[in-house]
Amino acid sequence: MAKKKRGLKEEYNLLTRDLDWDPTFVTREEMYPYTDFEGIKIHNWNNLEDPFRVTVESYVRIQGEKERKFHAIRENIDLLQGQLDMTDARWLEAMKIFSSVALNGEYNAHRLFQFIARHVPSPAIRFAAITQSVDELRHVQNEVLLFNNYNKYYQGFHDWKNYAHRHWLTSVVKSFFEDAQSAGPFEALVAIAFGFEVAFTNLLFVTMGATAVANRDQSYGAVSFTTQSDESRHMTLGMMALRAMIEEDPDNIPIVQKFLDKWFWKAYRAFTVVGYILDYIAPKKVMSWKEAYEMYIEDQVLNGLFKDLEVYGIRKPKYWEQTVQEKEHNSHIAALVLYRLPHVLYFHPFAPTEEDKKWLAEKYPESWENIWSKKWEAFEDPNFDRLYPGLPMVCQTCQYPMFFDEPGQPGFNTAFRTSEHEGEVYHFCSDGCKDIFDDEPDKIKQAWLPPHEIFKGTCGPAEDLANYWGMEPEDGGDYYESVDHQNFEKWKKVRA
């Protein structure tokens, strides 16, 4: 008689959770040296279960199927000349930013999950983190493969590694991951699983994925949805771990609250550039940053998840009100500032077209007409010196140029915050970034700030900076004067 097939739960318990072992050659403390580092108390590590109940067998089968679907699309893009189908090549400016920021981010997320898998002594979390570290490698590889196709036809994709490691703008995302990688294992988990996966990656892969589909960029459409399908599992890890920490011991509450405050703010700041992509770069727009923020952050996280957590004594992350206020403004600030930097970017900034402006006026009735359209008028004046004359001051914590406004005073009223530490002054763009420094000054003081390093000569001679960043002369400049734009117009006619 054939044996009855094991159910999902039994299969998971047998093949994942119960495979854990107690060390005999070393003590448990020696095996997991960072368990107590952050003060988190977990009394029974076996209480945790992964709701997805992933086993090696199911993981390999499901991921294999995702890969099959993805590569079928990818091969078709080559075959059917997908690079000509886009609404406009301007969309690819988003992909250039993505390639330099996300590929490096995903690779570092892979390393971060390895660290979590090694150091959190729960079999459920360790196994979930192992599979997730493999997911992240899959994302990097698929994205590199896709950008390989763009690179045959367009500028700005040829040297993503140098942009990622050396360009001043990508320092933002690098510092995010370096902070997380040098934290303890529980903070690392909150950083990646909550800050990124539960909260903000939705804006990058779902909203931006839908925007890619609307702009007929099948490449990113395919890559974003296959990537984000793994993120669902990652969210589960985040939610499971978060609740476990909160429920296991009341002493964990203030520690977890601090992690949530820090990583909500850090992820929020890091994702500023996504607003620029949704509101400005996308030739055909699907959803404004404001709408995406309301749906994915306000409804789902702030008024969804945090309502569930408040019974444990967890409150919404600090400065959430400021993030809600800023949803009206920050994409415009970023677009205006980047517009002045065509000479030091590996993508093409531009001023919004009449069509863009109409849409912006509709989506931002509060702020467009009164504030931001006027700034654009001034910037587009022929007498205005467009090129920003030097290197910008950046925030010690988030490393964005200091361009964020004082809360409640939008319109280029730049906010400044400072702290003194060991007789030295440090500058921040916001209370959120200042608090992070004040809590760990000896860590954040070590930040590698691009303008300082450039002046110190760390990046080679100033006249050779473009080369150091991996840029070719055609990479920068205004989109509407670029070779990419000219070629796209030419090819479109041939294809028509």
């Binding site: 709701p51 109940r53 839908a210 399908s229 993120e231 669902s232 939610m239 789902q300 969804g304 309502k307």
Partner: protein
């Protein structure tokens, strides 16, 4: 009918456009109350108040084919709420404290 308010909140799934997603949507609509569906380029958001159940049997009926609950991973691109239960027969997404 349950209304969304301070405590009653939506949970939801974002499903990538594919035949399985359509069957899952129909199964959700049949087996849950107050279902809200919003379509976007490339994906669809399906939400219900406080709790959303996906039954394997219903999905198979609408799909006209075998479907395992773990196959949800091939369609789901994002979700919110807690995965309260996931076994061979059904998946439950919910807020615990409503």
């Amino acid at each position: 009918m349950t209304q969304v308010n301070e405590r009653n909140r939506y949970v939801g799934l974002d499903l990538t456009n594919c035949p399985e997603s359509e069957a899952i949507l129909e199964a959700i609509e049949q087996d849950n109350e107050n279902v809200k569906i919003t379509r976007f380029p490339g994906y669809v958001k399906v939400e219900a108040i406080n709790r959303l159940v996906i039954n394997k049997e219903s999905v198979e009926e609408f799909l006209g084919d075998d479907w395992e609950t773990e196959d949800l991973q091939l369609a789901v691109t994002s979700y919110y709420g807690f995965m309260a239960d996931w076994d061979d027969e059904h998946i439950v997404l919910q807020w615990d404290n409503v």
